[in-house]
């Protein structure tokens, strides 16, 4: 065949018009684009449908449910069709917004995020910059050691730290001053922050390390020849390049922290005073399961929707501030 140059998908129609006699028959001249579109959709369909089922439908149901209340009718709450849904307008939102427990929980997770995220990201950045520098040659072992906690499920990590915080079990208490209490009301957030930091520092470090390794080494060599120290290279060249990766890590951490659930749920076994509404997510779960009034799908969905809104606003705010600072 004369025309041996490969044809890209976009060119099929064009080629068919210009040299119809040279197009192989199985390209279905003229219909190429449509054929490609249909095939593309068929490949995408299984994922798109599952995504719709697992992401889109729940969001829509949550939005819809948040406008409905569950009214008991005869039998108990879970007595088999014992409740009916009733449109209540914005009542669920009003109830959540005026509920002091919701805002206390929100205050806790935001306060938690405000000191845990900087510590974790700072430590991850520090470790990534050290491992990427000439200060250390063999990095494989350290990298693995720092990352290992990520392989441990959050709930198991939380159990482990609860043991390490408990007198009578923990090996540390013989070295600590008498009266140390990791479950005291003003300490418990820090105790949980330590769990999260322990689990996710290595993960963030690896992401930063990957971004650092993409920087061409000639850049450092040039800076060196101009007399830059290793510290200057790290702070003036590497840190600015890491900016976008850090921004993303902080955004994902904010989103993750707002939905804090597993760690406080376990901590509340050891520290029962925390109750079942210590974080907004715990409150949503408890009201879904009928352990808290107002209960039911409606109030629980309203809490979910509010949390998503707050998480979105916080993340957007952070991104905006970051961009402002970056421009100046």
């Amino acid at each position: 065949m004369a025309n041996t140059t490969p044809i890209t998908v976009d060119q099929i129609d064009e080629v068919a018009v210009v040299e119809p006699q040279q197009v192989p028959q199985n390209l279905r001249r003229g219909q190429g684009k449509r054929h490609v579109a249909i095939t593309g959709w068929l490949f995408a369909l299984p994922f798109v449908l599952s995504f719709a089922l697992v992401f889109i439908v729940p969001i829509l149901t949550a939005l819809r449910n948040s406008f409905y209340g569950q009214v008991a009718q005869g039998g108990g709450l879970f007595g088999g069709g014992g409740t009916i849904n009733q449109f209540v307008g914005l009542d669920n939102f009003r109830a959540a917004i005026t509920d002091v427990r919701f805002w206390r929980g929100m205050g806790r997770v935001i306060g938690y995020a405000a000191f845990q995220i900087p510590i974790m990201i700072g430590l991850a950045l520090f470790l990534a910059l050290i491992l990427d520098s000439y200060l250390i040659k063999r990095v494989g072992g350290f990298r693995l050691a720092f990352f290992l906690p990520y392989a441990i499920p959050g709930i198991v990590a939380a159990m482990m730290w609860i043991f390490l915080y408990s007198p009578g079990v923990s090996p540390f208490f013989r070295y600590l001053p008498a009266g140390t209490d990791f479950f005291a009301p003003n300490v418990v957030l820090a105790s949980m922050a330590n769990m999260t930091t322990w689990t996710f520092t290595g993960y963030n470090m690896l992401i930063f390390l990957a971004a650092l390794q993409a920087i061409p080494h000639d850049l450092y060599e040039a800076a060196r020849l101009d007399g830059a120290t290793g510290f200057q290279i790290a702070t003036r060249i590497k840190l600015p390049i890491l900016g976008p990766a850090v921004l993303l890590a902080v955004l994902l951490s904010i989103v993750g922290t707002i939905q804090l659930f597993g760690e406080p749920t376990l901590m509340s076994i050891a520290a029962p005073w925390m109750g079942n509404d210590y974080t907004p997510m715990m409150m949503g779960y408890a009201s879904m399961m009928g352990q808290l009034t107002p209960s039911g799908t409606g109030p629980a969905s309203a809490i979910s929707v509010l949390m998503a809104l707050i998480a979105g606003v916080l993340a957007a705010l952070y991104a905006l501030v970051q961009r402002k600072v970056g421009n100046n």
Partner: protein, 317 residues
């Protein structure tokens, strides 16, 4: 066609490999390039760095080490003996028996459940996200940009927030408290789809697909016999990430599964712990260790893949 498949590198080999390809290629190149002699840091700086790094490594490793030691002790020994070395006698077998009795013999089943959920979700999830990623990278279809945009937004959505409405939905259609309540939500991974499309874009040459089409191969055959092989490294990464995320999920099984024989290992251990309260026994520690062992083995065995996958995830930053 077979010759084409076995030598895709010849066809694709660009003059300068792009970021993602470099990551997958250089995955075994762990150590630093030796610096020119004049850049060599002083001996003191190197020693201090090493001490600091070892100190931080101890923070990350000591809790795990303590769990291994504690799984061999009795409850009173935890506080009465030195915490970071083995006690006078080994109580591993007693702790195992206690674990079995507290879980009413369910513990091995919980581990198997975790394996079942994670493996099924990861297999199905890898297939559908690779197919979709490939379609987005290599086909032009209406609505493609919308799909990509919505899925990317899904990546930033707090996923636990979906659990409550998802539970309400699954309850309505009668899927709550079945294995599908674990597998279906876990298999959808926006990150997997994203990674699949980035990788397909860079490592599946369009010329190869065209050549196969001209040879008369159907689209499905092109995908299943050719493209899947080219995408293998990305697929292993996606598999691993869905596997780990499913294994570690706590809120989803807590809401969805009420039958103890369906519990995954994390939820099962939580159940024992909430019954036992603060009087914690080495049995739970042993259970936790056995519950994370499959994950740690997998992480160590597939190290090069998840590192490359994480790196590709960093590209989006």
């Amino acid at each position: 066609m077979t010759t084409l498949v076995s030598t895709p590198a010849e066809l694709s080999a660009p003059a300068r490999p792009n970021f993602v390809q470099r990551l997958f290629q250089n995955r075994d190149n762990d150590d630093q390039v030796p610096p020119p002699r004049s850049f060599e840091p002083t001996m003191t700086a190197k020693v201090i760095t090493r001490i600091v790094l070892i100190g931080i490594a101890i923070y990350f490793l000591v809790p795990v080490f303590w769990m291994i030691i504690s799984a061999t002790k009795t409850d009173p020994q935890l506080a009465s003996t030195f915490g970071f070395w083995f006690g006078p006698e080994n109580h591993l077998a007693d702790n195992w028996n206690e674990l079995m009795s507290w879980s009413r013999g369910n513990f091995p089943r919980w581990v198997l459940n975790s394996l079942l959920y994670s493996t099924s979700a990861a297999l199905l999830g890898t297939l559908i996200s690779t197919m979709c990623g490939y379609a987005i990278a290599k086909y032009d279809f209406p609505g493609k940009k919308v799909v990509l945009g919505v899925v990317m937004a899904g990546m930033l959505l707090p996923s636990a927030l979906l659990t409550i409405p998802l539970y309400a939905l699954f309850l309505q259609v009668g899927l709550a408290n079945t294995i599908w309540a674990m597998i279906i939500p876990s298999m959808v991974s926006p990150f997997g789809m994203f990674l699949g499309s980035v990788y397909a874009q860079t490592s599946v040459p369009t010329e190869l697909i065209e050549a196969a089409r001209i040879d008369g191969a159907s689209e499905a055959r092109i995908f299943f016999t050719m493209v899947l092989r080219l995408l293998a490294p990305a697929m292993v990464t996606i598999f691993l990430f869905i596997f780990v995320a499913t294994w570690n999920n706590f809120m989803l099984p807590l809401m969805m599964l009420s039958d103890p024989s369906l519990h995954p290992v994390t939820l099962g251990l939580y159940g024992i712990m909430s019954i036992r309260g603060i009087a914690i026994r080495p049995a739970i520690i042993l259970g936790s260790l056995l519950g994370v062992l499959p994950l740690i083995i997998m992480f160590l065995a597939l190290q090069k893949y998840w590192r490359a996958g994480l790196a590709a995830g960093a590209v989006k930053g």
